[in-house]
């Protein structure tokens, strides 16, 4: 069974890693996304993540299931955080385990790339100078043609 969640509480990457790993697995890959202290050279103070939470949960579950199918392993766990995050705080954690390492790496990478393509989440950077701005995002890859 894959596991996925969208939460407003802090993420513990070690706890996400513990959700995967069975006796048949020889490899686990964990990816952690954090808020960094600058973007394109501009000092960053923090980040606000806004999400369409119910849909994000559904999409994240779908992404985890796709990754599991690709990896041939149902040991996939992923959680994305919403709300106000300080620099260094964890915004997303993804863990995959499988018998062999190539599949674990590939599936973890798949999950983060798909999150960036289609999870209905937006982020607003707060800069040290007091300004803030929504980050330019990606038009979601939805499998449906343009609406307008």
């Amino acid at each position: 069974m894959t596991w996925s969640d969208v939460t407003t509480g802090p993420i513990d990457p070690a706890a996400v890693l513990k959700r995967v790993g069975e006796p048949r697995d020889g490899a686990a890959a964990l990816f952690v996304g954090m808020v960094r202290n600058s973007n394109e050279g501009r000092p960053v103070d923090g980040m606000e993540y806004e999400g369409y939470r119910d849909m994000a949960r559904d999409q994240l579950a779908a992404i985890a299931a796709e990754a599991a199918q690709q990896a041939g392993s149902d040991r996939v766990a992923v959680v994305h955080r919403l709300g106000e995050l300080a620099v260094g705080e964890v915004s997303v954690a993804i863990a995959v385990s499988s018998p062999h390492r190539a599949e674990a790496f590939r599936a973890a990478r798949y999950v983060i790339e798909e999150i960036k393509k289609r999870l209905p989440i937006w982020k607003r950077e707060r800069y040290l100078d007091g300004e803030q701005a929504w980050l330019e995002g990606h038009l979601p890859v939805t499998g449906v043609k343009d609406n307008r």
């Binding site: 369409y52 999409q59 393509k117 609406n147």
Partner: protein, 81 residues
């Protein structure tokens, strides 16, 4: 029929609302809804032309038929991770 419309992030700020209800004729599609919203003027008329739409948590094309009680979200370009 009536559908609930959700707005997020820059869209929400442009319109000044996080949600609204739209009354639509039977047979309305996502396109019908978007025209109705645009016709409201103000921030609604200035919503970006390129945006995705989700109906009941699933991305949906402009020709998707709507039903009474649907939850329709305008999805600005996403930036998760």
């Amino acid at each position: 029929m009536k559908v609930t419309v959700l707005l997020f992030a820059a869209h929400r700020e442009l319109v000044g609302q996080a949600n609204t209800v739209a009354a639509l004729p039977e047979g309305a599609t996502v396109e019908t809804l978007l025209s109705e919203l645009k016709s409201r003027g103000g921030g609604w008329a200035r919503l970006p032309a390129r945006a995705a739409v989700a109906v009941n948590h699933k991305y949906a094309g402009g020709d998707t038929m709507l039903a009474d009680g649907d939850e329709v979200a305008l999805i600005p370009p996403v930036a998760g991770g």
